[in-house]
Amino acid sequence: MALKDKLHDLKVKYTGTKMSPVFNAFHTFLYAPNETTHSGSHIRGADDLKRTMNTVIMALVPCLIFGMFNAGYQHHVATGEITTFTEGFLRPEFWNWDNLVVGLWKVLPLVIVSYAVGLAVEMFFAAKNGHEVEEGYLVTGMLVPLIVPIDIPLWMLSVAVIFGVVLGKEVFGGTGMNILNPALLIRAFLFFAYPTWMSGDKVWVHGAVERTNEIAAGSTADVISGETILGSLAQNSTAMMDSSSDVWNAFYGFIPGSVGETSTLLIILGALFLIFSKIGSWRIMLSAALGALVMGFIFNLITDAGFIAQSSKFYTLMSLEFWQHLLIGGFAFGAIYMATDPVTASQTNKGKWIYGFLIGFISILIRVFNPAYPEGVMLAILLMNVMAPTIDHYVVQGNVKKRLKRLKAKTA
């Protein structure tokens, strides 16, 4: 155990210096620390924050791998290299080496940049403020590459990550203190700062932006269209969602979108893992789905009743089968992985029901009525992040009132 002892000596050497948090971040990554209890309970449960975060990352890995294949698949479909289409989840034209190579080439840099920049910022602040590097960014760093378009320039991603971590988290005091979900804040920053790279029909498939530029420069190649289903529906076109195989594709995730959010199937598997491991809040996941279904159903009722003319620009999205909302536009990804961030969600169990429900409800509301920005999930979660403390306040007040009532009953 020479390594263990050497690292221990180094830890002692760095103790009290600015380097200490940075060294400890790497040290504790290799070895669980030798810290023992000093006050209170002499024994402690087996989980720590690293393990918790690691569990979320494990739940995200299938989405990441799928995202890599999908990056290549969408590219090859758009360029016409894939012409035969089969059914089912394990279709050979999807799960092949060619697709994966494109994915590795495009997605891994996003992951690396996201982690490198984000952790560098975290370590800088840890060294500056003299606290340990907290694990919050482990999950954020994995979420970020999964919720951006594939061709986003790496420098934009870096700027956004710095913005998100500094203004979204560090200014509030670091992990555990932030109000907004940092990963979504990073995405929102990109979305509003560089809208041409974040929305429209030219960004979701690798090569589309490049091709557009080539055409503008006089090339005669075909345009790569990479419209998302949601984008197409917002244009009042049901072309991408009109057959059962379209719906299955949306469920399996063989559709254009941000890197890792397309496969509802894998997201549900991730959700089951998070619920089983008791890391993710099933209350939020379930209530978000319920909220979306209720809103979607209300819209369906409205269109069925004929209150909205077919020519209305809202008609197509409003008349979309209510449950199909769950499959598109990254809703599942947002509800499972982003809404459940324990720091920015409601912190009381009752509050979580309200919080999740409103996220689902508002997501669909924004999605339908704001076709220019069909990013309902992102905006709804950010909005509810802001509202969560208020929800908690009223839930906790309920408990406080109960206590006062008990006192009154006594003295009366």
């Binding site: 918790t52 992990t175 491991s277």
Partner: protein
């Protein structure tokens, strides 16, 4: 009258090394020590200076704010040392025990014909008042306040704690005398609780309301029972006494002697022969642990249970209120990839590659490693799973941390004691010191509100 209380939220921590139901007389300790810090919040005024000869039950010091409240010697002998810290604060009073023990005679008391006032005065002057604790604030009871009820938990649910059914055997008369006396000091009821299938002598007491308790720890904590039976409101006070201390009170009333004897469970995974020892308050712990046998030399000795006890050295002493000694291995070693590899040998309430959910009946050999570093509060909803009180635990902890007295009061601070937060501390992913936070919060309230 009997009422059932079922606790659903909680966690039974099953540890190796449960004490076998055999009682051995511990080797008599040469020196007995009383530490004023065991009586939280009391400022001691010394009576027995160094060199004073005392008999068992004679006062050592009194409470500065309530001069009638005596704290007495558990044995007869000579005060050989008064250990002081900064500002002459008394840390410990050491008494070298006589070979032949002699008791101070306080005289027999017939409870039924004695007034509440005289009982109170008697308990204060004989040192027995120290056994009565109050809520709010979890301190020795303030004799000026009359409690709305008195709670006695005869069900020990904490890991490896002494089994009351066993240690109270044959103490029927003492228990009855003590609860009759305490019953006179309250307008309300004396609530006594026992485990569901227990044959405790407590269940045949008269003049009390009996409750039978079931469910995981902290069902045996008196705080849990208070919350379920008659929660403390603002301005109210309740008292609690542990059953073994009732025996001492009872014996004093019946015989006039302060007999500090108690039966202590010595257990834990590193104890070779875990069993019960008959000893006295303040005895050196080495008088028991060497007889019981200990494996290895890197262990933690805890006076009390693993959740709420205090760490001591072998030449230190059994805590004033403790009837359990627990020995577990220290965990001061690194663990390779300890944060992400699957864990089978530690207890967890999650299933994040921790597999204790597969083996609910397994007994664990847990050590003192924190299994992670101190972090800000991140996860939510985890404490509520093991916290049966109708209180928002994290919100209350945070209120204590930012010292908002109004909020602490509103969120139920009067109802809690540090021990109620032992399990939330155990499961805390952020490794926050919950009991310390609550203790500090209670001290702040006591100082500011009183």
């Amino acid at each position: 009258m009997s009422k059932d209380i079922r606790i659903k939220k909680g966690l039974d921590i099953k540890l190796q090394g449960e004490a076998e139901k055999i009682t051995t007389d511990a080797v008599a300790s040469n020196v007995y020590t009383i530490k004023p810090e065991n009586f939280h919040g009391i400022i001691p005024k010394l009576i027995a200076k160094q060199g004073t000869k005392v008999t068992a039950g004679e006062p050592l010091f009194y409470n500065k704010s309530v001069a009638e409240m005596m704290f007495v010697s558990p044995v007869s002998g000579e005060v050989i040392d008064v250990v002081r810290a900064e500002k002459r604060k008394i840390v410990a009073i050491k008494i070298q025990a006589d070979k032949e023990q002699s008791f101070h005679d306080y005289g027999k008391i017939d409870v039924s014909s004695t007034s509440a006032e005289s009982i109170k005065a008697h308990l204060l002057s004989t040192g027995c008042w120290s056994f009565i604790k109050q809520r709010p604030y979890d301190v020795v009871a303030n004799p000026e306040k009359s409690p709305k009820a008195i709670f006695i938990s005869g069900y020990a649910s904490a890991p490896l704690s002494a089994d009351y059914d066993y240690v109270l055997q044959g103490k029927q008369a003492e228990l009855q005398a003590a609860v009759s006396a305490l019953g006179k000091l309250t307008e309300g009821v004396v609530h006594v609780s026992v485990g569901v299938n227990s044959d405790s002598p407590l269940s045949s007491l008269k003049g009390v309301t009996l409750h039978s308790i079931s469910g995981p720890h902290p069902s045996g904590n008196v705080g849990t029972q208070i919350a379920k039976i008659d929660p403390v409101n603002k301005g109210e006070t309740v008292w609690s006494v542990t059953p073994q201390d009732l025996v001492i009170i009872g014996e004093l009333l019946l015989t006039g002697k302060f007999n500090a004897e108690r039966i202590v469970a010595v257990g834990g995974s590193v104890v070779k022969k875990p069993r019960y020892y008959k000893t006295k308050i303040g005895a050196e712990v080495s008088t028991m642990i060497y007889d019981a046998g200990v494996e290895g030399d890197n262990n933690r000795i805890i006076t009390g249970n693993v959740l709420t006890g205090n760490s001591v050295n072998p030449d230190e002493f059994l805590g004033y209120y403790d009837n359990t000694l627990t020995l577990i291995p220290e965990g001061d070693d690194y663990e390779f990839f300890g944060w992400n590899k699957p864990i089978f040998n530690k207890l967890s309430t999650s299933r994040a590659l921790t597999f204790s959910w597969l083996t609910p009946k397994k007994k664990y050999d847990l050590n003192t490693n924190t299994n992670g570093e101190h972090r800000a509060f991140v996860l939510t909803g985890k404490y509520e799973e093991v916290f049966p009180l109708d209180i928002y635990p994290m919100q209350l902890l945070k209120a204590c941390m930012y010292e908002d007295l109004d909020e602490m009061e509103a969120l139920g601070m009067y109802e809690v004691a540090p021990e109620d937060f032992a399990l939330t501390e155990f499961v805390c992913v952020s490794k926050q010191p919950h009991q310390g936070i609550i203790r500090k919060g209670l001290d702040l309230m006591l100082k500011e509100i009183g």
